[in-house]
């Protein structure tokens, strides 16, 4: 990464913070809220999404001059759905436990607006390398938020982190954190924290 010219690294870094898909653009909230009841689920979901995002970015960037404008959405969806199915079968075949925990949310990556959004807004207008970097940055930003969200909810809701006990018996787990309301509360606070940090950054 050290040798990459500045614009490329900027393309990568924007996904991590300035244009973070979850915290700044509020994209892909369905999986963000639904699967982050533990850190490992958030990580697996994030990695599956990165795989789909980068693979589709490469293909769509390559085909951007071939696919006619009128049918581009249909074409994108077929390409995305193919990679999602590959990822879904991979998890079921090699990581059955995680596949079971994520349930229907892996197939639902197809309709994650983060992925279609990046294809429409970026890959269909930029070259392959740039699209990969963009996908990687956005994907890492997505994983980052999912793991943070999953960790907070798992620590407070189950007193564990990546299934390891981190809080002692004195701690009574807050059940609500691993239930859907916990997802909304934590995400709201995270977005608020992100906005607060950004405002401070601007002032300095």
């Amino acid at each position: 990464m050290a040798k990459t010219p500045i614009p490329l690294s900027k393309e990568f870094l924007k996904g991590l913070w300035d244009d973070n898909p979850v915290l700044r653009m509020l994209l892909g909230l369905c999986p963000t809220l639904a699967v982050t009841n533990s850190a490992i689920n958030g990580l697996a979901m994030g990695l599956a999404t990165i795989f789909v995002l980068i693979s589709s970015s490469i293909l769509i960037s390559l085909l951007r001059k071939v696919i006619p404008h009128q049918v581009r959405i249909a074409g994108y969806i077929v390409i995305i759905a193919t990679f999602v199915t590959v990822a879904d079968k991979f998890l079921a075949a090699y990581l059955p436990e995680i596949s079971k925990a994520l349930g229907p949310y892996v197939p639902l990556i197809v309709v994650n607006c983060l992925i279609l959004g990046r294809q429409e807004a970026f890959s269909s207008k930029n070259g392959v390398i740039r699209s990969i970097v963009d996908g990687l940055g956005m994907g890492m930003g997505f994983v980052f938020v999912l793991v943070v969200l999953g960790s907070i909810r798992e620590i407070l809701g189950s007193a564990t982190l990546f299934n390891l006990q981190v809080l002692g018996d004195w701690f009574n787990p807050w059940m609500i954190m691993i239930l859907p309301p916990g997802a909304f509360l934590t995400l709201g606070l995270l977005i608020g924290l992100g906005n607060w940090l950004n405002e401070r950054k601007v002032k300095i």
Binding site: I67, V78, S158
Partner: protein, 195 residues
């Protein structure tokens, strides 16, 4: 016209390629997925039945029944079968093991559920109970099936046909017992009609 033709051709090629990739990948992953499912099934059967050497799979009137046997013995050690029913939020599927005469349960294992995390999910494992996280499913071992299984709340079960409800998840506890009660007669009838 030319534009229309291009649209059709491009979409057709993309979908055909996609179909080809998925068919190939399905061929690669299918045996592995089937293997995991078989392992899960075997693990569930051995969890709910007493020690056995082999099990025999029988399809009686559309019900899959797994009969555990010890080598050199004609008498089975127990019978396992999978049943489904609705819980608090969705379907619960349970593997049930009973003794060959259908008088008592040898064990149960919840295979699939989407109950409330932290409350209803205690039918699988209860992390808040440090001494025995599996107290709920394990209490079914030895429970007598006549006249039927009953749920008691906030007290230790006194009779051999009673189990204790999970506090905060009464509907889920009742659902598990109801699913067992509702299905056992049907399985018993079809099993005994064959033997």
């Amino acid at each position: 016209m030319n534009k229309t033709a291009k649209m059709v051709i491009v979409l057709t090629v993309i979908t055909a390629l996609s179909g080809g990739i998925l068919a190939t990948w399905d061929g690669v992953t299918k045996p592995k997925i089937a293997y995991h499912q078989l392992q899960a099934l075997k693990a569930a059967i051995s969890d709910v039945l007493p020690l056995y050497d082999t099990y025999e799979e029988k399809n009686i009137n559309g019900n899959m029944i797994y009969i555990g046997k010890i080598n050199d013995s004609t008498q089975p050690v127990g019978i396992a079968f999978k049943v489904d029913g609705s819980g608090f939020q969705g379907n619960i599927s349970i593997m049930i093991g009973v003794d060959p005469n259908f008088t008592s349960i040898t064990g149960i294992k919840v295979l699939g559920q989407i109950e409330t995390p932290g409350l209803g999910t205690k039918i699988v494992v209860d992390p808040s109970n440090k001494t025995n996280p599996f107290w709920f499913p394990e209490q079914f071992g030895g429970v007598v099936l006549s006249p039927q299984i009953d749920v008691v709340k906030n007290s230790i079960p006194q009779n051999p046909n009673e189990v204790q409800a999970i506090s905060g998840a009464t509907i889920t506890s009742n659902a598990v017992v109801r699913i067992i009660n509702d299905n056992i007669q049907r399985i018993k009838d079809s099993y005994q009609s064959e033997n």
